[in-house]
């Protein structure tokens, strides 16, 4: 008997019949040719999150984002009018990358009044207008007003900055995000500004790592050594079941039940968890963040654990019941590698005790993520061998099934524009 009720169809997977229940192929994760199609059809078409408004605190604040999968670099900047804008990071004169420090391929950030090209000194204002050309009279019919920085579609939702690299018109960001994601409106992301940021390159296709974090079926096994033996044994015997899965357009959500560690026998928690009153699920003392938005905890679980919103294509917002949240970004660098970024956001601690509890949660997060990341390299190698080409997914892995289907739909849809998506 399942611990949580399943939909009337008998399973979450069958509740979304377009997904099917057959074993799936990972050809989309081992094929250089498919990766080339994905670049055009997914990463140059979908809205991509590149950061938060807190990273651009005032007029003139900027940062650059390398989007290797789209072969471009983008400048994000807050203008004199307070608006956040995005531009391709390229000078209109001879094509030099406009904003960078020592290393041409590395991201940078800072505050400035104008952007000046290192090569010949052309200058652009914060709104992208070309303002100064060195020895302008030497040029032929140069129209400065027609040679501003090339804009990138840019929009902000709940403080998250998104860009879209399409050359033509695009669907409004909130339409793309849809009702399931925008039901998070009102979550106090702007109050959770104490940030830990992590980064690594993973030698696996980006979708395989997304799969790792959109199912928790693996958790009692892969992470068994993280907990006292007695807890691990109980967790493995119980297995994992989510009370709720949801799919809305290209996006998906898993919600989990919580654990009241503070009520548990001391043999089931680590001494440092008891001492710091914190652990994987976050600080045991939950800050008062006011009323939560309607889109959170859709199964109304008590205790509730977390909601993991998987935003197509490569962005995750994971909100914990204990008043903190994570984001994940998966930036492809080749068919079998990507940059993985993890961010952990807490309310700013006012006491040392709160801060130590946050440290415990952040360090625990890193140790779990290391185990997940290392497993992915092993999966990539094994799948690339090609000797097994169909893989069995259970009902707790319904979201993995959906991601691979949506990517295939976008790729095929883009290549056959006559067919409706």
């Amino acid at each position: 008997m399942p611990r949580f009720p399943k939909p009337a169809e008998g399973s979450w997977t069958e509740h979304y019949p377009e997904l099917g229940t057959a074993p799936i192929s990972y050809e989309d994760s081992i094929s250089p040719e498919f990766y080339e199609r994905e670049r055009e059809a997914v990463f140059k078409k979908a809205w991509l999150n590149v950061g938060r408004v807190e990273e651009l605190p005032r007029s003139g604040s900027y940062f650059t984002k390398e989007i290797q999968v789209a072969k471009t670099s983008v400048i994000l900047v807050r203008g004199m009018d307070g608006e956040v804008r995005a531009f391709h990071n390229i000078c209109r004169h001879r094509g030099n990358k406009l904003v960078w420090t020592d290393m041409p391929r590395e991201e940078t950030s800072g505050v400035c009044r104008q952007f000046q090209c290192k090569y010949h000194g052309w200058r652009y204002d914060l709104e992208g207008q070309l303002k100064f050309v060195q020895q302008e009279s030497e040029f032929f019919d140069l129209d400065k007003s027609a040679n501003g920085l090339v804009p990138v579609h840019c929009a902000v939702w709940s403080g998250f900055i998104f860009i879209n690299l399409s050359r033509g018109p695009v669907e409004p960001l909130e339409d793309f995000l849809g009702p399931m994601v925008t039901a998070l409106d009102g979550y106090p992301f702007d109050k959770l500004t104490a940030r830990f940021a992590y980064r690594t390159e993973v030698k696996a296709n980006w979708k395989l790592f997304m799969d790792a974090f959109q199912e928790f079926y693996h958790a009692p096994v892969l992470h068994a050594k993280q907990s006292p033996e007695k807890y691990s044994k109980l967790a493995q015997e119980a297995g994992f079941e989510a009370p709720h899965y949801q799919i809305d357009g290209p996006h998906r959500l898993v919600s989990t039940s919580g654990v009241r560690f503070w009520e548990m026998d001391s043999e089931l928690v680590k001494p440092m968890e008891t001492l710091t009153r914190s652990g994987l699920f976050g600080p045991w003392e939950c800050p008062d963040l006011g009323e939560m938005p309607v889109g959170l905890n859709p199964a109304k679980c008590d205790p509730w654990g977390l909601d993991s919103f998987q935003l197509f294509p490569n962005f995750v917002i994971l909100i914990w019941s204990q008043g903190w949240y994570l984001t994940y970004h998966y930036w492809p660098t080749s068919y079998n590698s990507h940059i993985f970024e993890g961010n952990v956001y807490f309310p700013r601690a006012t006491t040392a005790r709160q801060r130590v509890a946050q440290e415990m949660a952040a360090v625990t997060f890193k140790e779990f993520a290391l185990q997940d990341a290392n497993t992915l390299e092993a999966t990539q190698m094994a799948v690339e061998s090609g000797y097994v080409d169909r893989f069995n997914l259970c009902d707790q892995e319904v979201l993995c099934r959906h991601l691979h289907k949506v990517v295939a739909d976008w790729v095929e849809g883009a290549e056959a524009p006559a067919k409706a998506r």
Partner: protein, 109 residues
Amino acid sequence: MALLPTEFADLEPYAATWCLGSEPERYAIRLASTMPEMFAFYAAITPRAEAAMSYLDQFPLSDLSDDATNLLHLLYSLVMVSFPVEAWSQPKVPDTGATTFECHIEPVP
């Protein structure tokens, strides 16, 4: 020159090694330490951790003196070594080979 508040003079022998202000430094010293070194540090700090937090909670977190900040960093290092000591009996989390996950931004303090 003492690094820690006088109330925690007994922990001074650990201060020079373990009062580290950034996660990359704390993570690196964990990987570079032996299990006996970490057991000794853990055994010395753990019984004093509750007193250390109570002491630090007398002051606003945004305005800690240098010696109080060192004590806070010592607690961060205690968190860092607790994983090998309490769970894995090895400096690096099991099954992670050459994988890294670098922390490049963290709240201060």
